[in-house]
């Protein structure tokens, strides 16, 4: 059964266009969506079997892909809890997005092609998450990149869409540059690219002999020469793989493609650029957790980049006016959270946030899509306002999404053994606490991530509520025609939002125990690696809080967090650290502060009046222009590449090589020949050749006789 979970979307992609031609567009939509439903149900069965039930991890091998010496890659399907979680996320969201698109795309046409691309994307994403070797992972990695390219550029008449599509592909390729080198490096060190072999060798610290070396060393201490310097092998591999992750997950420096990717239809943004594809980088780091556990410097880089992204993207999100761009920067920022969680070793928290984020971010995007349709394809929230009255259901759903992402809940209160709050509350707080604990444990950039994570949480609340207030609340700023006759989104667009809304509210509570709580060890069952000596992962630790925090939850929360902090921090239970109360509460206050600030500004008076950051100011300019990354890259990389290419072509090929080579020789010979022999020009070249032949034979003979005596 398992292979069908992966293959059904492929069948959908293959049959969509033929079926549309033979039967009709609607049939193609129903077929692909139906396939996705079956695949989604199958994935949940697998998750319940492997993660919650007694199912064993297994690898189903289909056939060999590439085999060249020991460079072996199979087409395979690795089923463990990590891939099962991803299967569930991908297939569920994909099914809902397919369903939603049946309504959304009515306005636009070209459904069969759209559904074929969506299914193709899903297939590629599934091969990525079920890979059992690095090469298949790379296949899926580039495959989702292709689908993303096709879907961003779906409206290929638009120049901006085409530009964005190419940008996404090329920037991702920059990341893939690192990823591909990482794979090569792995093969060089391990002589294999299969997960079991590579991860097993690292965990067992077995002897590794890189190609061409006479002696090896235990893998955890091995150094290799990379680009002329000696480095710790696992660090090199970890950093290279992470560069790939940065591209795919739009992390700081390689993030520029994601906001532009909003040129794609909104369901695409929800599926690819929020819930699934962009989380592939997080998945990669978690899949390779054993590498990062033994490469602390690479892990520190993950933490650093993740924290900066969480902060940076949130700052840009503050000033965006395009409803989709706000959500896009929010995605970028949330991905940053996941990365710094993984960087500090809280892989389970990273995966947990990935899981819950899929629900509320897909909800926010799909809700935005409904707003865009309702507002006659308007995306600028400054031209909205008062949409609450026009689209009450959408409003409720978007608010649910917002309280999920900003994280509303009561710190320290536990319900069914899980913190009481929305999905984002549970998982994001988990991450912030993990970063604090990592800082306490002396991990590089732990406190840094904790601080930036908190600041980003303030801004998250601000921009999320700003979106709600400007779009839905207050007086309408939309044109008369829109106000009078808003388009009503079809039912097919609203139903899929219901499960997402439920997930956004409850996924945190429901899955806490398994992902990061007391049942997590049985749940992950080794799919996420934790080094033995620091067993006090935040997960186990949080479970400890939960164990004896439960009887007096409110009591704990009533104490002032400042005073409690010292007390709590000094306590030490068998190697595990408690999170001080002020840390426990800090994300909550961050959220509250951001929310109040947004309300203060956008709910009183004219919401469009200038705020703290007045236009014209430097900070305003920097944020509004996304820190000028596009301009800088264009100036430093894109323009020079084209100019340099032109230069090499005209000057290098044209003037230098041809000028000295054929043209030059011909010119000299021609001039000489004309003067001396005065032959008809038609025979000139024969003489040119004869001369050259003579010279060549002469020179060669000289060289050979000289060289032969060596």
């Amino acid at each position: 059964m398992e292979p069908f979970v992966v293959l059904l979307p492929l069948f959908g992609a293959m049959f969509a266009l033929p079926v549309a031609r033979l039967v009709g567009s609607r049939a193609a939509e129903i077929l692909t969506t139906g396939f996705m439903l079956i695949a989604a149900i199958g994935s949940w069965i697998i998750l319940f079997d492997v993660g919650l039930g007694s199912g064993e991890d297994k690898t189903i091998r289909l056939f060999t892909w590439i085999a060249s010496g020991s460079f072996q890659a199979e087409w395979a399907m690795r089923i463990d809890t990590l891939s099962a979680v991803m299967l569930v996320v991908v297939n569920s969201v994909s099914f809902l997005v397919h369903w939603y698109s049946m309504g959304y795309m009515k306005d636009y046409g070209e459904q069969p092609r759209f559904f074929a691309y969506l299914s193709l994307f899903t297939f590629a994403m599934l091969t990525l998450v079920t890979a059992d070797n690095f090469l298949q992972l790379f296949f899926g990695w580039e495959g989702v990149g292709l689908a993303s390219y096709l879907l961003i550029g779906f409206w290929f008449k638009k120049k901006s869409a085409n530009d964005a599509a190419i940008k996404a592909f090329v920037v991702n390729r920059v990341g893939d540059f690192g990823f591909a080198l990482g794979i090569m490096c792995i093969f060089y060190v391990f002589g294999s690219i299969e997960f079991d072999t590579v991860f097993g060798a690292i965990a067992a610290n077995s002897e590794a002999i890189p190609y061409g070396r006479a002696t090896g060393a235990p893998i955890q201490d091995l150094t290799i020469t990379f680009l002329g310097n000696d480095w710790h092998a696992l660090t090199v591999i970890g950093v290279l793989l992470f560069i790939g992750a940065m591209g795919k997950s739009a992390q700081f420096l390689l993030h520029t493609w994601l906001p532009d990717a909003m040129e794609g239809p909104t369901p695409v943004s929800a599926l690819i650029h929020a819930a699934t594809m962009v989380t592939a980088g997080v998945f990669l780091v978690c899949r390779c957790s054993v590498i990062y556990e033994y490469a602390p410097n690479a892990a520190a880089m993950v933490t650093l980049v993740g924290a900066i992204t969480a902060f940076f993207a949130a700052t840009v999100g503050l000033l965006q006016d395009d409803i989709k761009k706000i959500v896009a920067y929010s995605t970028c920022s949330q991905l940053g959270y996941m990365f710094f969680a993984a960087g500090v070793g809280a892989y389970d928290a990273a995966m947990f946030h990935l899981f819950t984020h899929a629900f509320f971010k897909a909800l926010l995007f799909l809700g935005s899509g409904a707003v865009i349709i309702g507002m006659h394809h308007e995306q600028n929230i400054k031209k909205m306002g008062g949409v609450k009255e026009l689209m009450p259901l959408t409003h409720i759903l978007m608010v649910i999404g917002t309280i999920a992402i900003t994280g509303i809940g009561i710190p320290g209160v536990f319900l069914f053994g899980a913190p009481f709050g929305t999905a984002g509350f549970v998982s994001k707080d988990m991450i912030i606490e993990s970063a604090f604990l990592a800082g306490e444990a002396g991990k590089t950039f732990g406190y840094f991530a904790f601080t930036l994570g908190l600041l980003a949480a303030v801004m998250t609340a601000f921009y999320s509520w700003r979106l709600i207030f400007l779009t839905f609340w207050g007086a309408s700023r939309a044109p008369e025609a829109v106000r009078k006759h808003p388009h009503t989104p079809p039912d097919a667009m609203m139903w899929p939002l219901a499960p997402l809304a439920i997930g956004a509210l409850a996924a945190g509570i429901l899955f806490y125990g398994n992902f990061v709580g007391d049942k997590s060890e049985a749940f992950w069952n080794g799919a996420l690696y934790a080094k033995v000596e620091h067993h006090e992962t935040p997960a186990a630790d949080h479970a400890a809080v939960d164990d004896h925090g439960e009887p007096t939850p409110l009591g704990a929360s009533e104490t002032s967090h400042g005073a409690d902090a010292v007390e709590e921090a000094t306590e030490d239970h068998g190697g595990g650290h408690h999170v001080p109360n002020w840390v426990l509460w800090s994300p909550f206050f961050a959220m509250l502060f951001g929310t109040i600030a947004a309300a203060f500004h956008y709910l009183r008076g004219d919401p469009l009046r200038p705020g703290l950051l007045r236009s014209g100011g430097m900070i305003y300019g920097i944020l509004k222009n996304k820190w000028y990354f596009d301009e800088i890259y264009d100036f430093l990389l894109v323009k020079p590449a084209f100019a340099f290419g032109r230069f090499l072509w005209k000057e290098g090929d044209g003037k230098t090589i041809d000028g000295v080579g054929p043209d030059g020789i011909a010119a000299v010979v021609a001039a000489g020949a004309r003067r001396i022999v005065k032959m008809q020009s038609g025979y000139l070249y024969h003489y040119a050749f004869v001369m050259l032949i003579g010279i060549a034979i002469f020179v060669t003979f000289m060289l050979i006789t000289a060289g032969g005596g060596q």
Binding site: I66, L146, V170, F187, G212, T225, P662, A696, L703, Q710
Partner: protein, 527 residues
């Protein structure tokens, strides 16, 4: 010692000379017709009939040759290293023999050649309007010579085919090439003649050195038998010069930077089918030569000069990719991207690792399908619009959806997307290079980024956007003669992308043997 399995029947000779029979029959048909005093055929109807006959004969014979090659492949045992189906008869004297045979390195190139040729004939069906019979004769002779290159097991026989293939190609470019004039050496001439001359000039220079080197080898070793020469140990000092002479010839054929500038001109001027043959097969002779001669016969020099090859390959990959970014002519862009892709081949081959060599071989095979198809794609719109200028197009997807789909596939293949055959060769070649020195792989990987930039840019400018240009409003989509070959090439590129095993497993025994001999020679030579 390299094992040689002799064949009772001259299968390879049959295969090699089958196209020649077609050429002869076209010539005979024309000789039977009445001509006026200038040698031209008097009756226009008869002229048309001869031309049509020539087309069908060429298609029939090339297809038949492909079937024969499949038969030859059926007789070939891919699990063995060494030469098979060997035939050998005395030729010029006792030591220079007529000797043919195939091994894991050559057999698939034979198949590639026979597969590409019928496609070329189809592509020329209507687009060649003048001197059709001569054109078909040139192509059939060219096929014989190309197959001959890959099956020769004698140095001079190889040289004959290798250099001989230059002549029909020279004519194809010079006679049936496109219009326009060019100033060269103070003389104004048609650009196609300039391109042909440039092509000739570059290749001839290399081949003369090759001839001298071969003569010296014959004098030294007393034989021109390739398997024997592969076992003959040339002195280290001599290897260096011999290697350089062979290199001069093969580097031009590949082509490697900086002797690549003939290729864009040749491609631009050549008729579509000429470009296809050039890209798919003629370029592969250089890589084949490195593997057949340089590595096995001059292992010490190969190891010593490997850094030079790496450097030139890396320059080729980055330099020509950047140049491709700046192109305004579709064919030139693809030609430059060919040079970049061949950079991966030379890089892989000289790593002397299994992944590198197999990657290089696979890349050559895959490039045969993909860039051949890309030139066909350009030919499709060129036939309709008579321009190759990128700016003359835009928005074709609206009128030509099937074409858009196929062009997209081959563009992605060119980009090296996993799942197409383009990926397999690149990743293997880079993996091999990483094993030798991470710097090489590091620089080569830039090609991965740049290829995406130039290939997608081309596709976007030709296919996407609004269809605004008046001339394009009525442009028709592909006819069967166009989509059939492209579809077949796509199936191959896709099949080998997902399941390269059938090709890699043919390479493996031969490559393993090559490497073990190579390593042994290096060890003996103290390297």
């Amino acid at each position: 010692m390299i094992e040689q399995l002799h064949s009772d029947q001259p299968w390879l000779s049959l295969l090699t000379f089958a196209p020649l029979i077609g050429a002869l029959s076209i010539i005979l048909r024309r000789m039977m017709s009445r001509t006026d005093e200038n040698g031209a055929i008097a009756d226009p109807r008869e002229q048309a009939q001869i031309e049509n006959n020539a087309r069908w004969i060429a298609l029939g014979i090339t297809s038949l040759t492909f079937l024969v090659s499949l038969g030859v492949y059926a007789l070939y045992d891919p699990s063995r290293a060494g030469y098979q189906l060997v035939e050998e008869i005395p030729w010029l004297n006792d030591s220079i023999k007529y000797k043919m045979g195939v091994d894991g390195i050559s057999i698939l190139f034979v198949l590639l050649t026979t597969f590409i040729m019928p496609i070329c004939i189809l592509a020329s069906w209507n687009s060649i309007k003048s001197r059709v019979a001569d054109y078909m004769i040139a192509f059939l002779i060219l096929e014989t010579l190309m197959i001959g290159v890959f099956v020769s097991l004698d140095l001079f026989l190889f040289y004959f085919f290798f250099e001989g293939s230059l002549i029909p190609m020279f004519l194809i470019i010079g006679v049936w090439g496109s219009k326009g004039t060019k100033e060269f050496a103070g003389v104004s001439m048609p650009s196609r003649v300039y391109a042909a001359l440039k092509f000739f000039l570059f290749t001839l220079l290399g081949s003369l050195l090759l001839l001298v080197a071969m003569a010296w080898m014959y004098a030294q070793a007393g034989t021109t038998d390739i398997p024997a020469l592969q076992g003959y140990e040339f002195p280290a000092g001599a290897q260096k010069w011999l290697w350089l002479a062979f290199f001069a010839s093969f580097a031009v054929k590949m082509p490697m930077w900086p002797v690549h500038t003939w290729l864009p001109d040749a491609h631009v001027q050549a008729p579509t089918a000429g470009s296809v043959v050039l890209a798919a097969i003629l370029l592969k002779m250089g890589g084949y030569g490195f593997l057949r001669f340089s590595l096995p016969m001059f292992p010490l020099a190969s190891a010593d000069f490997a850094p030079l090859i790496y450097a030139l390959s890396i320059i080729a990959i980055i330099y020509t990719s950047l140049v491709a970014l700046a192109q305004e002519d579709m064919k030139k862009l693809i030609a430059y991207s060919s040079v970049a892709h061949m950079g991966f081949v030379t890089m892989g081959i000289f790593t002397g690792t299994q992944q590198g060599i197999e990657g290089g071989l696979f890349q050559m095979l895959s490039h045969g399908f993909i860039s051949g198809a890309l030139f066909l794609c350009v030919g499709v719109v060129y036939d309709r619009m008579h321009t190759r200028e990128i700016a003359a197009y835009g928005g074709l997807v609206h009128r030509m959806p099937l074409y858009a789909f196929l062009f997209l596939f081959f563009t992605l293949g060119n980009v090296g997307l996993p799942g197409t055959s383009g990926f397999v060769g690149e990743i293997l070649a880079m993996t091999g290079a990483f094993k030798v020195n991470s710097w090489i792989a590091f620089f080569a990987a830039f090609g991965v980024i740049l290829s995406a930039a130039y290939a997608l840019r081309l596709y976007r400018q030709v296919m996407y956007g609004e269809l605004t240009k008046e001339a394009l409003m009525a442009i028709p989509d592909l006819n069967w003669r166009e989509w059939l070959p492209l579809g077949l090439l796509m199936l191959f590129a896709l099949f080998l992308g997902f399941n390269p095993g059938p090709a890699l497993s043919v390479f493996t025994p031969a490559v393993e043997l090559l490497i073990s001999n190579y390593d042994a020679a290096l060890a003996a030579g103290g390297r």
